[in-house]
C-alpha cells in the first residue's frame, strides 16, 4: 500500500513536470503554434499503447508455456491499460486535427491503423468478458491475443500501402523529421512520464486481478465447507464474483 502511494507520487510529479514542459518549456511551433503542444501527449500515448500491447503478447506466450495464472493477470491488465492509452490517442488526435486539418477525422494511414488496433484489443477484452471459466478464458484468450498481435504489422503495412496509393486530401507531415532539440527533450520526458503512468496502472490492475483470483478461491473453499457442514454458509455477498 505504502509502496503504491510512493509510486503514484513519483509518477504524478513526473506528469506535472511533463505537463509544464510541454506547455511552457517547449518552443512554439512555427505554423501550428499552441495546438501543436498536444503532440507531447498524443504521440507518447500512442507509443505507450503499443508497449502495453507488446506486454500482452509476451504475457500470452508466457502463459501458454508455463500456465501460471499471473501471466493471464498481466495480459488482461496490459490490454485494458493499452486500450486506455489507445483511446487517449484517438481522442487527442481529432482535437488536434480539427484546427490543423479542418476535419476531425481523415482516413489517413496512421489514424486508420490506430482505430483498427483499438478494435482488435476491444474484441480481446470482449472475448474475455464472455468466458466464465478462468482456465479456459486464460488459454483461449491467449491464443486469440497471439493472433491479434501477429495481425498488427499486417494492419499497419496494408493500410499504409492502401492510403499512399490514393490521393490524400490532407497531408500528414513527418512529425519526427527535424524536431527541435528542446522539443525532442520535452517529448522524451513526456514519454517517460507516460510510461510511468502505464506501469502504475498495469501494476494496480494486476493486483486487482490477483485479489479477484484469491477471492474466487476463498469462495470455492467456503462452498466446499458449507457442502460438508450445512451449518456454515458462505456470506451472501460472496456468491457473486
Amino acid at each position: 500500500m505504502k509502496n503504491s502511494i510512493w509510486q503514484s507520487l513519483v509518477v504524478g510529479a513526473l506528469m506535472a513536470v511533463a505537463g509544464y514542459a510541454a506547455l511552457f518549456i517547449a518552443p512554439d511551433e512555427k505554423t501550428m503554434h499552441v495546438i501543436q503542444r498536444i503532440f507531447y501527449f498524443h504521440a507518447p500515448a500512442g507509443m505507450v499503447a503499443l508497449l502495453a500491447f507488446t506486454i500482452v503478447f509476451i504475457a500470452n506466450i508466457a502463459y501458454l508455456i508455463n500456465r501460471q495464472p499471473r501471466w493471464d493477470w498481466l495480459a488482461v491488465s496490459g490490454a485494458e491499460v493499452g486500450i486506455a492509452f489507445n483511446s487517449v490517442v484517438l481522442i487527442t488526435g481529432p482535437i488536434w486535427a480539427k484546427p490543423a486539418w479542418g476535419v476531425w477525422w481523415a482516413w489517413d494511414a496512421r489514424l486508420t491503423s490506430t482505430l483498427v488496433l483499438w478494435l482488435l484489443y476491444i474484441s480481446f477484452l470482449l472475448l474475455r468478458d464472455l468466458m466464465a471459466d478462468p482456465d479456459r478464458r486464460a488459454v483461449f484468450s491467449a491464443v486469440y491475443g497471439i493472433f491479434l498481435f501477429l495481425d498488427v504489422p499486417l494492419v499497419y503495412f496494408s493500410i499504409r500501402i492502401w492510403r499512399t496509393q490514393h490521393p490524400q486530401p490532407v497531408i500528414l507531415g513527418g512529425q519526427n523529421s527535424g524536431l527541435d532539440p528542446t522539443m525532442r527533450k520535452v517529448f522524451w520526458f513526456c514519454w517517460l512520464a507516460m510510461t510511468g503512468v502505464m506501469a502504475i496502472l498495469i501494476h494496480q490492475r494486476y493486483k486487482l486481478e490477483q485479489a479477484r483470483h484469491e477471492f474466487e478461491e476463498l469462495r470455492l473453499r467456503a462452498e466446499q465447507l458449507s457442502a460438508e457442514e450445512p451449518g456454515i454458509s458462505p456470506p451472501a455477498g460472496a456468491m457473486r464474483t
Binding site: L64, V143, L154, I161, W162
Partner: protein
C-alpha cells in the same frame, strides 16, 4: 495414422455431415445472395458505379457469409460433446484443425462458385476475361478467411453469445485481408486489368503467417 491422412478423414466426415444435414451451405449461400442484392439498394447499381464498389461488395458479402458459416464449425460439436471424442482420437490436434479448415474452405469455395455468376450478371461485371487471376485472389482470400475463422470458431465456441461473438473476433483481424483482396480484385476489374503484386504478397503473407500460427497453437485450442 499420419496427420495428412487424419485430416483427410476429418474432411470426409465434415463433408458427409454437411451433405446429410445440408443446412450450412444453403443458409450461407442465400445469405450471400441477400447481401449482394441488398447492396444494390444502398448504392446506385450502374455499370460505372458497380465497377467502383463491386469488389468491396463481393468481399463484404464473402466475409459476412464466412463469419456466419464458420461459427457452427466447432459449436455444433458441442451439442453431442463430439469434440471430446475427436480429441481422444490418436491423431495430432493440428490434423483435426487442418481437417476443419480444409472442409470449411471447400464449403466456402462451393458458395463462391455459385455466387460469382450471379454477382457478374446482376452488376454487369465482366469476370470471364480475368477469371484465372480472379480465382487466385479468391482462393488466397478464402484460405485466409477459413484459417482465422476456423481457429476463432474454436475460441468462440468456449464463450457465451458465441453466435454473435465470432464476427466480432474475426472482422477486425481480417482488415488486412479485406484490404488486399478488395484492392487486388479492383485491379482486375479495371480498364487495363492487372494483378498487383503487393496485394498478392499481403494475401500470401496473411495466409502463411496465420497458417503457421494455427499449426503452432493447435495444441492449446484442442486439448482442453
Amino acid at each position: 495414422m499420419n496427420a495428412g491422412r487424419a485430416a483427410a478423414v476429418i474432411v470426409a466426415k465434415e463433408v458427409r455431415a454437411e451433405f446429410r444435414a445440408r443446412e450450412l451451405l444453403n443458409t450461407t449461400l442465400i445469405f450471400a445472395f441477400v447481401v449482394v442484392v441488398i447492396f444494390s439498394f444502398a448504392f446506385d447499381p450502374t455499370t460505372a458505379e458497380s465497377r467502383r464498389f463491386g469488389p468491396g461488395l463481393l468481399w463484404i458479402a464473402l466475409l459476412f457469409a464466412g463469419s456466419l458459416m464458420l461459427q457452427p464449425s466447432f459449436a455444433r460439436e458441442h451439442a453431442n460433446d463430439t469434440l471430446d471424442a475427436l480429441c481422444l482420437a490418436p491423431v495430432s490436434p493440428f490434423a483435426i484443425l487442418l481437417g476443419k479448415i480444409v472442409a470449411n474452405f471447400v464449403f466456402l469455395t462451393a458458395c463462391e462458385v455459385l455466387l460469382l455468376p450471379v454477382f457478374a450478371v446482376l452488376y454487369n461485371v465482366a469476370l470471364l476475361p480475368v477469371l484465372g487471376r480472379l480465382v487466385i485472389v479468391l482462393m488466397l482470400g478464402t484460405f485466409g478467411l477459413t484459417i482465422t475463422g476456423t481457429v476463432f470458431s474454436a475460441v468462440a465456441a468456449q464463450a457465451r453469445m458465441r453466435e454473435l461473438l465470432l464476427p466480432l473476433l474475426l472482422l477486425p483481424v481480417l482488415v488486412p485481408l479485406l484490404l488486399a483482396a478488395v484492392e487486388a480484385t479492383a485491379g482486375l476489374l479495371a480498364d487495363a486489368p492487372e494483378l498487383q503484386r503487393t496485394w498478392l504478397e499481403i494475401l500470401i503473407g496473411f495466409d502463411v503467417m496465420f497458417f503457421t500460427a494455427s499449426w503452432l497453437l493447435s495444441d492449446f485450442l484442442l486439448q482442453e
